[in-house]
């Protein structure tokens, strides 16, 4: 990999290791993401894929190696971490909306308090985003009054309200009923087409086929294989990849 910091390389991971107590979760992950790339990470549960994506905005700390996001290295300096988190949006499996705030308050909270955006302006942006994810009429409701799919779309709007340069998705459709998965995937596909840099942990192979530039197969804390969707689906190299794909694509 090229040592000089190419402007296009927005995420650089070098030999990232992490342990939970004695358990070695990440065993030397090296990965570079170009600006505008859409990366899909998949693999069996417990393979460390969620842990890895959570290291990218330091919700988890890595213990060895280097992670550089948008030119800033993630370390113990909380200022750097907060700066990176403002540029990196994240969407969670369990939505994690703030239940005591309305939809619009959920979305405007971070821009008002972190970016100091004037109220009228952040509301304007929030309504724009709600229209983009297709639920402007829910603005004044509380999260618990929405369906799972609607909640996840609000969560995406909330992350986008900070106008991040990178979006992380951690199994965004795993907690949803089948009929709601599509509405969330549609929003994600639309987002990918706008040129946003996306790193998504998901098993939605339709999404991967439609927009992913690269797919990365994780197993036992290591990157086993990576390639374009075409390569991964049609000519997977590793037996582990073949086995896993046959399991999730059977039906």
């Amino acid at each position: 990999m090229n040592e000089t910091n190419n402007q296009e390389e927005i995420i650089i991971c070098r030999d990232v290791h992490k342990w939970f107590d004695q358990f070695h979760v990440l065993k030397g992950i090296s990965l570079t993401v170009q600006k505008g790339e859409v990366i899909v990470i998949f693999g069996p549960s417990g393979s460390g894929k969620s842990t890895f994506i959570r290291c990218l905005n330091r919700l988890e700390e890595h213990q060895k190696g280097q992670i550089i996001v948008d030119g800033i290295e993630l370390g113990n300096d909380i200022r750097n971490v907060e700066k990176i988190r403002q540029e990196v949006g994240m969407v969670f499996q369990q939505f994690n909306l703030f239940p005591h705030l309305t939809v619009i308050q959920n979305i405007t909270l971070a821009p008002s308090w972190v970016r100091r955006t004037p109220k009228a302006q952040s509301r304007e942006l929030a309504m724009q985003l709600l229209r983009r994810v297709g639920i402007p009429e829910q603005a004044e409701k509380y999260p618990a009054q929405l369906s799972g799919g609607q909640q996840q779309r609000v969560a995406i709007a909330r992350a986008l309200a900070m106008q991040p340069r990178i979006m992380l998705f951690d199994e965004p459709t795993s907690a949803l009923d089948p009929e709601m998965i599509k509405e969330v995937l549609d929003v994600m596909i639309e987002l990918a087409k706008t040129g946003m840099t996306i790193v998504a942990v998901t098993h939605e192979m339709g999404f991967a086929r439609a927009v992913a530039n690269r797919m990365i197969f994780f197993d036992k804390g290591e990157i086993v294989e990576q390639g374009t969707p075409h390569q991964i689906f049609n000519e997977p190299q590793s037996d582990r990849t073949k086995l896993f794909l046959s399991q999730i694509l059977r039906h």
Binding site: L59, G89, F92, F98, P99, H100, A110, P143, Q145, A155
Partner: protein
Amino acid sequence: MAAIDSVDIRPPRLVVGPLAWLRKNLFSTWYNIALTLFAAWLLFLLIRPAIQWATTEARWGVIEANLTLFMVGQYPRDQLWRVWLTIFVLAGLIGLSWGVWKNVARGFAFIALGAGVSFIAIALFYQWDVWTQWLIAVAILLAFYFIGLYLPRGALITALGWFLYFPFIFLIIAGSKYITALPSVASNLWGGLLLTLLLTVVGNFGALPLGILLALGRRSKLPVIKYFSIGYIELIRGVPLITILYTAAVLLPYFLPIDFRPDQVVRAMIGLIMFEAAYQAENVRGGLQAIDRGQYEAAHALGLNGAQTTVLIILPQALRAVIPALSNSFISLFKDTSLVAIIGLFEIVRISRSILAQSDWLGTHREVFFFAFVIYWLFNLAFTYGSTRVEEALGVGKR
């Protein structure tokens, strides 16, 4: 199928009328009938003499003759307008809150309104002249309700009003030697319900912020703060309130410079705040622990810093979750204020005992303590009802 689709089927009515209820719950089997009759007979045995006593033997005149003493203790009679003033401002604030926050404050507003109207009726019935003051209070409450409905920035103004209200009552009741209109009234003259309520309100609202800080401190990653909080909470929870009140009354003056020795009431307030803070801290900690990890993660992922996460995301949810526990502590402290009698303050219970020493009213223990009992009970009932309504109104996001 068609019939089911087109006609609304109502849930079956399981209980029909009071007679059916009686039959189902009290007279369903022979042994239930026997138990019901036996219990009714026992109740009759207990209640008959009580009613007989209350209507014939009891000398309720002791209450009427000493009502002012019950309410304000030895507070100078020519300064009573100051107590009324605090009540009027309170009525205004309740009305304003009702208008601004609607459902959330409606429970308390209804109680205040009901109390005010009852007081007018009672005063008119006994031909006491205070009915005019209560009428003014009710009128102020209603007037401010309508103001609250249309007031721009109402929430901010009302919150500020409540915030300023506590120092305000203190200034009005205590007075100051620098203000001629408000000559100072020594705190050993405060008494009765006035003192009980002051101690309760100051104790609780002084303790809550302290308790929140202690609860956050106990979960802090900094060892100094963490172990100080744990030490404080466990020390205070490990000793009875009486010992803390004694400490505040007797030992506190030795630690403070001579010029700055607070009087007995303020010492009692400090003692109550210190005591209550430890309990409120544990209540709040319960709420903090109930918050899902995902809430912290979502807040951090958006770039909020630690303080913003705590204040904007975690505390509002934690406090809402522990309203039942907080109001439980509130009620406990209300009743515990009776212990300040021991350090020489004339709150309701001590006032009751001093009334019993009057030569005109010897032997009226039952009447006097029954009255004190009713005061405590009514206030707690009202508070419980009001806080339940607040809880329901704030539960919106949970549904």
